[in-house]
Subunit: 272 residues, 2 copies
Amino acid sequence: MADTKWPGCSRGLKAVVLDMCGVLYDSQEGGVVAIPGSAEAVNRLMSSDLQLRFCTNETQASRDKFVAKLQTAGFDISASRVFSPAPAAAAVLRERGLRPHLLVHDGLLTEFDSVDKTNPNCVVIGDAAENFSYQNLNDAFRVLTGLEKPLLLSLGQGRYYKETNGLSLDVGVYMKALEYACDLKAEVIGKPSPMFFQSVLNDMGLQPHEVLMIGDDLVNDVGGAQNCGMKGIQVRTGKYRPSDEKHPTVTADGTVDNLTQAVDMILSQRGG
Amino acid sequence: MADTKWPGCSRGLKAVVLDMCGVLYDSQEGGVVAIPGSAEAVNRLMSSDLQLRFCTNETQASRDKFVAKLQTAGFDISASRVFSPAPAAAAVLRERGLRPHLLVHDGLLTEFDSVDKTNPNCVVIGDAAENFSYQNLNDAFRVLTGLEKPLLLSLGQGRYYKETNGLSLDVGVYMKALEYACDLKAEVIGKPSPMFFQSVLNDMGLQPHEVLMIGDDLVNDVGGAQNCGMKGIQVRTGKYRPSDEKHPTVTADGTVDNLTQAVDMILSQRGG
């Protein structure tokens, strides 16, 4: 492990937050494939005295369906531990009296069942994948240009994610498209938004320096967590690229081959 | 005409360059609708001693088909006077030995018949409209990420254009999407690229101060022409918005209600 940087913060550690896609599994059309050893690594963390939460920008399925899908891949994770952008967005919409025009994946629609969608006064976009047709993007654009104060909420700002058959465009790409079309700046709900990380800390009742984030996305997972005062570790799975280790603005507190190695390091430093 | 600013440059003027969509016509699904008086205004310019060229970022049809479509709306314009991005791009591709992956409208494909498209080493995008599906944008993205030096050529960088049933997203929106996805900067072929305006000046053998550009797009027509040393006039038709007259960085040399009024001003100042 000569090339494994590690923050040496494990002794005071009280919780670990795990990104999901690229750390636990790789996604493929309609399903997930576990990264070898990751389900066991999750179980070891659950059996430890550390708190554990999951923080994902997944917006292709409702949280319940998403957790059920993970069950089939061997992950025994309860929905209450999973933080994802859609429930957070639904709460924001209700609090602020916003009525969204939704451009999201069909599987996500149920998350917004309780939200008034008549006469929209904002647009919400998620990782809509095939729903990102020209017609649908144009419809969202026309809603925005028809508003006195155009407001775009984006469920994450990722550039792309890895599927088993290659890289696929993520919601951030379409966020940038609408930002340019309407000359506005979107509000991001999800990683790397500080509000989103803070909601996970609040749920655990912990301070940021007590928590370690582990993810495959250097900017959104590692950098986002660091901006909140947490430590951030990158795994060399998922969308990791060697160039990440020479990134101009974000430097991980540690880089490990996979989640198994990360958990080995965490638990061994705690004498676990 | 109290609110009509005018540059007072008409006496030394040797040529006029006209933008097309929004100045001559409004587009609607599959066709064009002439802006009242514009065909006659074009004829008056043709009968004058001024040179006349047309400069469009239209990339939904080949130049020949486009000119034929304008004929049906009453415009008698020869293809040799029309400058559009696709023929310019095809020339650039051949000169630089580039083999494009094309993401363009079906109607534009014939412009690239003479270009080698095997084993692509760049991506060319135009106003592909319905062809901007998630699948097609993802395919273009994957070509770019597979290249050692990703190169994206964009046929214009417009945000949107006006159709009779509302505003529609233009190629620039998808250019920004791919720029963000691939962390690159596209090369723009078409307005407001200085090279593109210069090719029109070269064709006429004139200096920029001898030429007046008239368009409805403040940034791409007026600003682009001004950046080349030409004067730029905006018409209050097409995509014109009142906020254009208070734009933070681009100020037109004149603003007129429509092409008819612009031609009145030009010819009256010349004693025509």
